[in-house]
């Protein structure tokens, strides 16, 4: 390491890798249903897709978590996004292909992808 700037660059890069070790109210939580129904419907690739997408964009304020069955097994894989000061958004029948759109439109730009949500699915 030859300069302070190099050290700062390394710090910023490393910070992303440890971001999840902070409890913070400003974090956005992406919660993937991972009960038997969710896993059977393919929740694991969805979870992985979220983790990768979040990492790729250096979104240190986003944590990807799992949860159990919320009771709408026919809609699995179910993904819920909790952003501070916003109502929870529930995405249903999520596929890994849908993940980049959800991350870009909703998590980064704050606009939920309505057509993937549970409200749109019933119609």
């Amino acid at each position: 390491m030859k300069s302070l700037a190099e050290l700062q660059a390394l710090r910023d890069q490393m910070k992303n890798k440890i971001g999840i070790r902070h409890d913070s109210d400003t974090n956005i939580r992406v919660v993937v249903g991972m009960a038997t129904c969710g896993i059977a419907a393919g929740a694991r690739p969805v979870l992985q897709a979220f983790t990768e997408e979040v990492a790729k964009r250096n979104l240190t304020h986003v944590s990807v978590q799992q949860t159990g069955c919320i009771g709408i097994c026919q809609y699995e894989p179910v993904v819920e996004v909790y952003a501070p000061d916003q109502e929870k958004v529930t995405y249903v029948k999520v596929t890994p292909e849908m993940v980049p759109t959800i991350v870009t439109n909703h998590i980064v730009n704050g606009t939920p992808v309505t057509e993937y949500t549970i409200g749109a699915s019933g119609k």
Binding site: Q8, M14, Q65, G68
Partner: protein, 595 residues
């Protein structure tokens, strides 16, 4: 990118309760479930709650599992990591309230703590310099080298009010300015990691949990005083700390954060480790430096002080591990930030190693001025088995006892000295009503007699005589004249011993005499040990009206001292009885007592 981090404590406490096996079990289970790419296992330093080890924290949820066993791992992986259901039965019970999971920082143990020196312990992987850097590691060194003059660095430390955390409480900035004022040339920076006080383990935990903070701070000190070489003197009894320091120094060198031309600023600084061989006296600064030089570790008179003539006769700054652990934060956050914590003359925070008769044995860091009551009752969780607080011992063999009447004093350097104890390195041993104060004084004197280096007479012979007098008292053979002699000898040693260790060796006696003189008198005049500890003064008796004659005591007595017929009261033969207390434990009727 990992979606989850499992932090497993790898401090000495949790390592001895089996955290290595926990890590292996996690790795095996994660491999079996195909989660290795998603979940990362990290070995960290001490979380502080050593009594509840092994400790495991799972992020992003921040679930705090305590006393985890290898058999629990499949359940944590299956439930928590696969299905996202926190395993409540394994959570630290304080974090569960009304069936909801609380943040660890809201628990009694953590909520009053302010972690400055321990901030990275239990948070980062101490064997990975990148994690230290992620938490602003080496940024203070970078700031110092690029933006500050050595004078400004010293002024910042002076302004912060930081005092030596090894026990003496000498202002760190003053020490640095003395060394800096010496003519240019070879100077040294040393770190005292020869933590020898019984019951103190904060320095060990910093080295194990955050070794880079010490390296960074020593480099800052080197820049401030104009030294290019440093030594860390660490006791060989701390193998994990030594190993992590070696790894840390290696990584820092590899990254160019130690060595020549650090960060392209032209500043050179390198570090070496020297191992202590377990002599308590080597924690005394002049003896420590003599030992680094390769000689037998014996103190020498001061002045000249190390800042003028220290290691190899050169100007030297020697600070304790915890002192160094505060430096980078002071540089980054400023002197005012540090001054905002603590009392008028003691700024910042202090780490205490809680031990003895207390629920939460472990490591806590609180702002100076926190009362002893808050530390013992709130953070420490009070005394087990409904016993009463009798006294707390601070400062190890150099310190003294603080009785219950002083529980509400704000703990800082000056207040502790005013009541006859001292901060010391921060060991805090809690004693309940079953502790005999004469016995405690004897315990510490036994330690000092063992550890006296023998160079000066007051310490070598004086402590031995002190011990003999105490022994006489605990055996009920002393007179009131002996008590006077004991006290006189204490002051004599205090005034005449060569080094700090000898001068403070009588403190355990003096402070117990000050607050618990009646216990000494009870031993001498009444030939009784009020706490029921000193065996020579005890008799074990069977209360005839309570004894049912069940014979269980007689069957369990290792010396065959108990006789009696079935269904008739038994008796103990005092000549055969060794007062081991087995019969008291075994009796179901509470019919056997120590008197």
């Amino acid at each position: 990118m990992y979606r989850s981090h499992i932090l497993v404590c790898g401090g000495t406490g949790c390592t001895s309760s089996g955290s290595e096996r926990i890590i292996t079990a996690f790795e095996k289970e994660l491999a079996a479930t195909g989660l290795t790419q998603e979940v990362k296992v990290i070995k960290t330093g001490c979380f502080g709650l050593c009594a509840l080890g092994p400790v495991v924290v799972v992020y992003p949820e921040g679930a705090f599992y305590s006393q985890v066993k290898p058999e629990d791992i499949p359940e944590i992986v299956e439930e928590h990591l696969i299905k996202g259901r926190i395993v409540k039965r394994l959570l630290y019970s304080e974090t569960v309230e009304d069936n909801a999971v609380k943040s660890l920082n809201e628990t009694d143990f953590y909520k009053k703590q302010v972690r400055v020196a321990l901030r990275n312990c239990g948070v980062i992987n101490p064997e990975d310099i990148n994690e230290y850097i992620a938490y602003d590691g080496y940024m203070a060194l970078g700031k110092v080298l690029t933006e500050m003059t050595p004078e400004q660095v010293i002024q910042t430390i002076l302004d912060s009010g930081l005092r030596g955390r090894g026990g003496g409480g000498f202002p760190t900035g003053r020490k640095w300015s003395f060394a800096a004022a010496q003519p240019k040339g070879q100077k040294y920076v040393c770190c005292n990691a020869d933590e020898g006080d019984p019951g103190a383990f904060m320095d060990r935990s910093v080295l194990e949990g955050d070794p880079h903070v010490v390296i960074e701070a020593m480099a800052i000190a080197g820049y401030a005083i104009g030294a290019s070489q440093g030594y860390i003197y660490v006791r060989a009894e701390y193998p994990i700390a030594v190993k992590r320091l070696q790894i840390a120094i290696g990584q820092a060198r590899e990254m160019g954060l130690l060595g020549k031309d650090i960060l392209g600023t032209g500043f050179d600084f390198d570090l070496d480790i020297r191992l202590g061989a377990g002599a308590f006296v080597c924690g005394e600064e002049t003896a420590l430096m003599t030992s680094i030089e390769g000689h037998r570790g014996e103190p020498r008179p001061r002045p000249p002080f190390p800042a003028v003539k220290g290691l190899f006769g050169k100007p030297t700054v020697l600070n304790n591990v915890e002192t160094y652990a505060n430096i980078p934060r002071i540089i980054l956050n400023g002197a005012d930030w540090f001054r905002s914590m603590g009392t008028e003359k003691s700024k910042g925070t202090k780490v205490f190693a809680l031990g003895g008769k207390i629920h939460n044995t472990g490591l806590v860091e609180v702002p100076m001025g926190t009362t002893l009551r808050e530390i013992v009752e709130e953070i420490g969780g009070g005394i087990p088995n409904g016993k009463k607080f009798k006294a707390a011992q601070t400062g190890g063999p150099s310190g003294g006892c603080i009785p219950a009447e002083h529980l509400d004093i704000p703990v800082d350097y000056d207040n502790l000295i005013a009541i006859g104890s001292m901060m010391g390195s921060g060991g805090l041993i809690v004693m309940d009503e079953d502790t005999c104060m004469v016995d405690i004084a004897k315990f510490f004197l036994e330690f000092t007699v063992d550890e006296s280096c023998g160079k000066c007479t007051p310490c070598r012979i004086g402590t031995k005589r002190l011990y003999e007098l105490l022994d006489k008292i605990t055996k009920g053979k002393a007179t009131m004249d002996d008590l006077d002699k004991l006290e006189k000898l204490c002051y004599h040693i205090k005034e005449n011993a060569l080094c700090g260790l000898g001068q403070t060796a009588p403190n355990p006696v003096l402070s117990t005499l000050k607050y618990f003189r009646d216990e000494y008198i009870a031993h001498i005049v009444d030939k009784k040990c009020p706490a029921g500890v000193c065996k020579a003064l005890l008799t074990v008796q069977i209360l005839p009206d309570k004894c049912k004659g069940c014979t269980i005591c007689a069957r369990n007595c290792p010396t065959g001292a108990i006789t009696g017929k079935v269904k008739e009261p038994h008796v103990i033969d005092p000549d055969k009885c060794v007062k081991c207390g087995v019969c008291i434990e075994k009796c179901r009727f509470g019919a056997i007592v120590k008197k």
